[in-house]
């Protein structure tokens, strides 16, 4: 039992900064560890097979060497993840998995398989390109079944429905706890800041879920019993692509003006957990497919055939109503295509809602001064600073 909420948050923060050390510690306890490159990978199936899924994240160091393996105009996150393989930072992994969701991350996966020694220990899960169609569930069930068979061979044991049910329940428990944590940010007197919530959420993506759930329950209990402290100033929401660079969230809360981060719509934050897998279905793979289809869609998959509607925008609208941001920071990886393409359609919606927005383009490194200026200018616009 830890002393207070700060020490638990610090513990999560320490793990986010020492991912490899943490993952290796799981192996030393006898667990198999699989790296996954996209949140479309159904972690529940890995977990049911007794394998701990650990998300492969970037290192935020210059990775010019990947240019010999991947096209220059693939996003910086995918280059950075490919770099992790080429520099053998994750050689300890027993397996790597991804889904055919994003072309750039798919190429990073290929680099690992072809050049980083993961040829015999990798699996690519075919994922439907358009998820908002009737055949999508059946497609996913078939893909997940193949993945399950592969894992059964890999661990040399069958994965029972009970294993699947336990895994689904464990993961849903994590999702409910995370939602509970994020709910604090709806209120002005939240006992936790947005950047702390982002840290705790990032840790969930590579921690063993039972251990994580226990710690998160403890944190929520302490936060509920402790005093709230007013989230100061302008309330900012972030919406965009994968961002594991926690410094950007910290920067938002440490501007020369008072500002608070109150929501992050990204696959490294809310989109990772803001859904549940139905627990009452007899067919567990069908349940997982339904759960993943009903999550907040990734812009790479979000297109309703015929109308071109983006279902993610419904969620964004819902989050804006619930968390009441004064402005939205549209944050995306350099050379990402789906995220900036979504912005073209999203901006008029934000304008109609009267929510100002700015765009920040992420790269491997964080241009602190430039981002700080843009964020401060944004706060000045929101607060109506004029001479």
């Amino acid at each position: 039992m830890m002393k207070n909420s700060n020490s638990i948050i610090e513990h999560f923060h320490h793990i986010t900064e020492n991912i490899h050390e943490y993952a290796k510690s799981l192996q030393s306890k006898g667990h198999l560890v699989a790296g996954y490159m996209c949140t479309h990978v159904p972690e529940e199936i890995l977990y049911a097979a007794g394998i701990i899924p650990v998300r492969i994240l970037s290192s935020h160091v210059s990775q010019a060497m990947t240019r010999s393996y991947m096209h220059e105009t693939y996003c910086s996150f995918s280059h950075d993840c490919a770099y992790q393989g080429l520099t053998h930072n994750y050689d300890f992994l027993d397996l790597i998995v991804t889904s055919s969701s994003c072309i750039h991350m798919g190429e990073a996966f290929n680099v690992w398989v072809r050049f980083a020694g993961f040829q015999g220990k990798s699996f690519l899960i075919p994922y439907p390109h358009i998820i908002h169609t009737k055949p999508a569930v059946a497609f996913m069930v078939e893909s997940f079944a193949e993945f399950k068979q592969f894992l059964e061979k890999f661990v040399n044991k069958s994965i029972t429905d009970e294993d699947m049910e336990r895994a689904i329940k464990t993961y849903n428990h994590t999702r409910r706890l995370l939602k509970q944590l994020w709910e604090f940010l709806r209120h002005e007197d939240s006992p936790i800041t947005g950047s702390e919530v982002a840290t705790v959420t990032l840790a969930s993506q590579f921690m063993e879920k039972q251990e994580y759930n226990q710690l998160l329950e403890e944190l929520i209990q302490k936060l509920e019993s402790g005093p709230g402290h007013r989230l100061p100033g302008v309330r900012l929401m972030v919406s965009g692509g994968a961002c594991d660079d926690l410094r950007i969230f910290d920067l938002i809360e440490h501007l020369d003006y008072s500002a608070s981060l109150i929501f992050i719509d990204s696959c490294t934050a809310a989109r990772y957990f803001w859904f549940e897998v139905p627990e009452d279905r007899a067919d567990k793979l069908q349940a997982i497919a339904e759960g993943y289809i009903n999550r907040i869609p990734c812009p790479a998959k979000d297109n309703v055939p015929g109308s071109g509607e983006k279902k993610r925008f419904r969620f964004i609208h819902q989050f804006i109503e619930g968390f009441k941001p004064d402005g939205v920071v549209l944050l995306y990886q350099r050379f990402c295509s789906p995220q900036p393409m979504d912005i073209v359609a999203l901006k008029p919606i934000l304008d109609r809602l009267g929510i100002p927005s700015i765009e920040l383009e992420l790269d491997t490194t964080l241009p602190r001064t430039q981002f700080q200026t843009q964020l401060e200018a944004f706060v000045e616009i929101i607060t109506g600073v004029a001479p």
Partner: protein, 282 residues
């Protein structure tokens, strides 16, 4: 970048109610403006090195022309990318807000779009008639279309930065160069020069390419009339000519009494004046 100081000797600061200053620490140059009863009294521009040192150099260069002392300045606002490193500033305001405020003060309340083409960044700012910024778009991480790329190109073709814009404007023909990347464009330019293509055509081509790059940012943000251009590159007729023809919109004519590179510093000084009044009212 030329270092200079200009003083308006008709102003007697000792009789003034307010003396305020704006200090803009940009990536290439640092500027200081002292306003006396909201009238421009002294301007200075120096090259930026270490921001703190450049802030002192800019303000000291201005003060050296007068018997005014730093302690006589009642309120100072720092702006620009080095704004947090102006040791004597009372407050900081972003260059976005200052750019809008300065532009509306100079060109009047009809201004709705300010294009700020600086040494290391390029921004499109929308504003109200009162000079309040309402939205902005910043260039992506690329040197194309910013002051540094023109400086390095001038170095490549062995011309002065101040003269290459006029050379571009004079050329009847222009070569097609990459507008995607300043480095690619310069290597293409070098190829053309070595192939004995007339230098002025290459210079015109480079200016056109950089202007096209800037115009994509302006087009994305949307250009509403009236439109003004500020920042160091606003003094380059080659870029501005190409930009206006690409955007199919003319800027408001430059004001001869104002260096467009000083507009952001002016905005900071106007903010300083406002804050001084607010403080005295409180």
């Amino acid at each position: 970048m030329r270092e200079y100081v200009i003083i308006n000797l008709k102003i007697d600061w000792t009789k003034a109610k307010t003396v305020v200053a704006g200090v803009d620490i940009g990536a290439v140059s640092s500027k200081a403006i002292i306003l006396v009863d909201r009238q421009p009294y002294i301007f200075s521009q120096v090259r930026t090195r270490i921001p703190e040192e450049s802030a002192f150099r800019a303000i000291n260069a201005a003060l050296a022309k007068s018997d005014l002392k730093l302690e006589n300045i009642q309120y100072i606002v720092g702006t620009g990318c080095g704004r947090r490193r102006v040791p004597f500033a009372h407050k900081t305001i972003s260059e976005i807000a200052c750019g809008a405020a300065g532009a509306v003060h100079i060109w009047g309340p009809s201004v709705r779009t300010v294009l700020d083409v600086g040494g290391q960044s390029c921004k499109v700012i929308h504003c109200t008639e009162k000079g309040r910024a309402t939205a902005f778009l910043w260039n992506d991480k690329c040197a194309a279309g910013i002051g540094r790329s023109i400086e390095s190109f001038a170095d490549l073709v062995k011309k002065e930065v101040a003269e290459i814009g006029n050379i571009a404007l004079r050329s009847a023909k222009s070569q097609m160069l990459s507008d995607f990347c300043a480095v690619y464009a310069q290597s293409e330019a070098l190829d053309l020069i070595r192939s004995r293509v007339p230098l002025e055509e290459v210079i015109a081509g480079y200016h056109h390419a950089m202007a096209k790059r800037i115009s994509t940012l302006a087009a994305r943000a949307g250009v509403k009339k009236d439109f003004v251009i500020i920042g160091g590159l606003a003094k380059n007729p080659g870029i501005i000519g190409s930009l206006e023809s690409t955007l199919k919109i003319s800027r408001l004519a430059p004001k001869p009494e104002w260096d467009p590179a000083l507009v952001v510093a002016l905005g900071a000084a106007l903010f300083a004046d406002t804050f001084l009044h607010r403080n005295s009212c409180n």
